[in-house]
Assembly symmetry: C2
Homo-oligomer: 467 residues x 2
């Protein structure tokens, strides 16, 4: 220490693709977290959390060993077995979680017998992905998850979509800016089978369709040919169904009766159930059917959806995973949920001017100081500052103080206003006679009040300016 303390050391940066949240960035993060939490709670979801890292097997069992090449992996530097395993195989015993669904399924499976049906859970976990950082995509990010477990009906699908939609409203976003795109994997699978794709090739077909926009055209065509999939005929068939579903949606949205849809497909019947459940929630105007969505994750069954905003990538995505809890050792348990990351959501809020400024954030987060206190008199006034501020804080008030040695009241009042405090408390000559000077920074009025009335006076300001 003695050596290095005599000169500046090397500067460090946080790892690429991670973020340092200084107070301003943190207030924005908290603003989003607060909206997620408040809306989830008022929709009757209970909050849960799990470890930020899980056993690598949890992901490998579900998606194959290859998935570990997409993740951050971790090991105990203290465990000789861990270190040996990593050195020998390049595979670590743990992985930083890339998503929450496996953790949730593991937790539910473990206590399934004592869990209510439905169980409604939400979480605000941190996630990690080992990919190259780019706009809207980081290596460490927050994600809001909401899941309904134990209800196989489309009512549960509508319930998780409704909580997402209400959260957007809470943040000032509308159905003009966001669209919930609904699809159903069973429908897409049925139609693939209908045009001659073999049962064993369906998963591969879904994967190809999911990556269609990202694959080179030649590769997509080659893949289709290999599994006997005629993409043109397939998409034409899908579009026809999509149109009739969207016509039904439009009619219901306009208060007309739902047109009959002739079909003996269970997937279509399920989609009609979803349509009616969404209507009951009053959120049809946010929704449309888009059967090009199949979602990349292999565990999805039935309903899948994405929520998109203009040209940005999906702001949220989710669907049913009716087999996963059983796969993790639980009883057969239907489940549906979504994940919404903070990175794209923040970009969308900024783009629409919906991220509050610093004053708005202080107000929204209930972080406006009740009082900004300073001394502007002799040494007795200076000596009274810390005890007064300590007393206010002990009484539950949010008190900030000046650390400057100046006595210039104008300058200090400016600092008070910059802190977004509701009022300034000035310890001046009157203090020895039992009074303090105050200024209400919301209405500009100035007062001399009794020291003994101070706490009540400050509390009253809080009540007044709460609206």
């Amino acid at each position: 220490m003695a050596d290095s303390s005599s000169k500046r050391g090397k500067k460090f940066q946080g790892p690429k693709g991670t973020r340092d949240f200084y107070p301003r960035e943190m207030a924005r993060r908290r603003y989003i977290e607060q909206a997620w939490r408040n809306v989830a709670i008022r929709h009757g979801f209970d909050e849960i959390e799990g470890p930020t890292f899980e056993s690598s097997d949890l992901y490998a069992v579900k998606s194959g060993e290859g998935i570990l090449g997409e993740l951050f992996q971790a090991f105990s530097g203290k465990s000789p077995e861990d270190v040996e395993q990593v050195m020998k195989t390049g595979r670590a015993p743990y992985a930083l979680r890339p998503e929450f669904t496996p953790t949730l399924a593991r937790m539910f499976a473990d206590k399934a017998a004592s869990m209510p049906r439905p169980t409604k859970w939400f979480a605000i976990p941190i996630h990690y992905r080992a990919e190259r950082p780019q706009r809207g995509r980081l290596r460490e990010f927050l994600q809001w998850n909401a899941d309904v477990i134990g209800d196989e009906s489309p009512r549960a699908d509508a319930e998780v979509i409704a909580v997402a939609v209400d959260m957007f409203s809470e943040l000032g976003l509308s159905s003009k800016q966001l669209t919930v795109r609904l699809s159903n994997r069973d429908l897409v699978s049925e139609m693939l089978a209908g045009i001659g794709v073999a049962a064993d090739d369906i998963s591969r077909a879904l994967m190809l369709l999911d990556r269609r926009d990202r694959l080179p055209a030649g590769e997509f065509d080659k893949g289709c040919a290999e599994i006997n999939l005629d993409p043109v005929a397939f998409i034409a068939g899908l579009d026809a169904v999509q149109k009739s579903m969207n016509d039904a949606l439009a009619a219901m949205e306009n208060g007309k009766p739902r047109p009959e849809i002739e079909s003996d497909s269970p997937a279509i019947a399920n989609l009609i159930g979803l349509l009616e459940a969404l209507a009951a929630h009053g959120i049809l105007k946010w929704c449309e059917f888009d059967f090009s969505i199949v979602r990349g994750l292999a565990y999805y069954t039935g309903t899948v959806f994405e929520i998109t905003a203009g040209s940005e990538r999906a702001i949220a995505g989710g669907g049913r995973y009716d087999k996963l809890i059983e796969m993790f050792g639980g009883p057969p348990t239907p489940a549906v949920g979504f994940g919404m990351g903070d990175v794209v959501l923040s970009l969308v809020l900024e783009e629409h001017g919906l991220m509050p400024d610093d004053a708005g954030l202080a107000q929204s987060l209930n972080q406006r100081p009740d009082a900004f206190v300073f001394a502007a008199g002799g040494p007795e006034c200076d000596a009274a500052l810390v005890p007064l501020v300590a007393e206010m804080r002990r009484a539950g008030l949010h008190a900030r103080r000046s650390y400057k040695s100046t006595n210039k009241i104008d300058k200090l009042l400016k600092d008070a206003a910059a802190s977004f405090a509701r009022c300034a408390i000035i310890i001046d000559e009157g203090f020895s006679k039992g009074t303090v000077a105050t200024k209400d920074l919301d209405d500009g009025t100035q007062h001399i009040i009794k020291r003994s009335d101070l706490l009540a006076w400050v509390r009253e300001r809080r009540g007044v300016s709460k609206e």
Copy 2:
């Protein structure tokens, strides 16, 4: 998928030493987080956060390569360079953060020029340690950090101690249950030098003293002998100073003038400054001097302290780290702070019966449902349930609903009470005529009210039961 869906998979557990937070455990965690956040904010600290993993060098530079053997290390499974490095050396490029101070110092150093003096930051980071889990010690835990940066005076030390003490009061703990033990590394170093320990051996002496209770007696004595440290004489000298400082503390606590302490030691002068600053905050009754505390971390300078509760290990610990920001490339910047983990704090709260029950947690976290809604009539009543609940939620109310198909009102009212809802809303035969039945679950009164008055009536209940 098709294969594994037909039978149950293997059950997984979370990694050893980590926790699954089901709703009840999560509510307890949120209760502690809320107290930490509220108290830090009312003391004028701003919240920050950093990445959960950092470059391994950040820790190795400060504490030597050996520290990585105590940490969870991480690497990108997608980066061939990362994987190659790990396989070759057993050392990964990243480490899961074991504490927050290096991240904080890195962040401050990076933006030091634009930061106010003092800067007051708090954080509620997740931390990781690779050690064997035991009572009060896990491999993944939360820690509350509060730091004052840019003020070298003991006033700043008192300020971080005051926020910790106020947090204990907030949770119902008192100075009867907790003690803030104050020490000063410079004083201990001065006294080691005074009895003949060479300057180069001081760090080693501090390390020995920190581990005294954990080392085998023979090893401690051998270590002392090697650096010319007579522990008996040393401790006798330290005890004498400690007694005079504690006498001064006791006198001031009883409102008497502070006795003169004859000394030309700068460390003693600093401790007297701390005493006076603690008196200004009105928290002397929580404090005592205990110079056996030197703290294990090498970066501490000057003031160090631990907060202990009975026989449990330290509930919090901290001190000055006046060289660290410079070591991480910033300008010379004094700083002081502490960390408080959630694991020991939870044990202490449980032990003293201070962790609220489920109803108390719902109240404290502002998570009581405003209404529990159910239908108890014909199919029209059932059909009205989702739209009514959706409308209440859109209006910002926390509405829960029954998912049971029963019509038995007594049973449903029991469910409503179990949810801690303020009131029950019953959609019955009156609904078609524009009324709903309600029951205030706090005072037991029942009412028939107009459908159009419902939202206002529920909002009013919230106002009434807020106290």
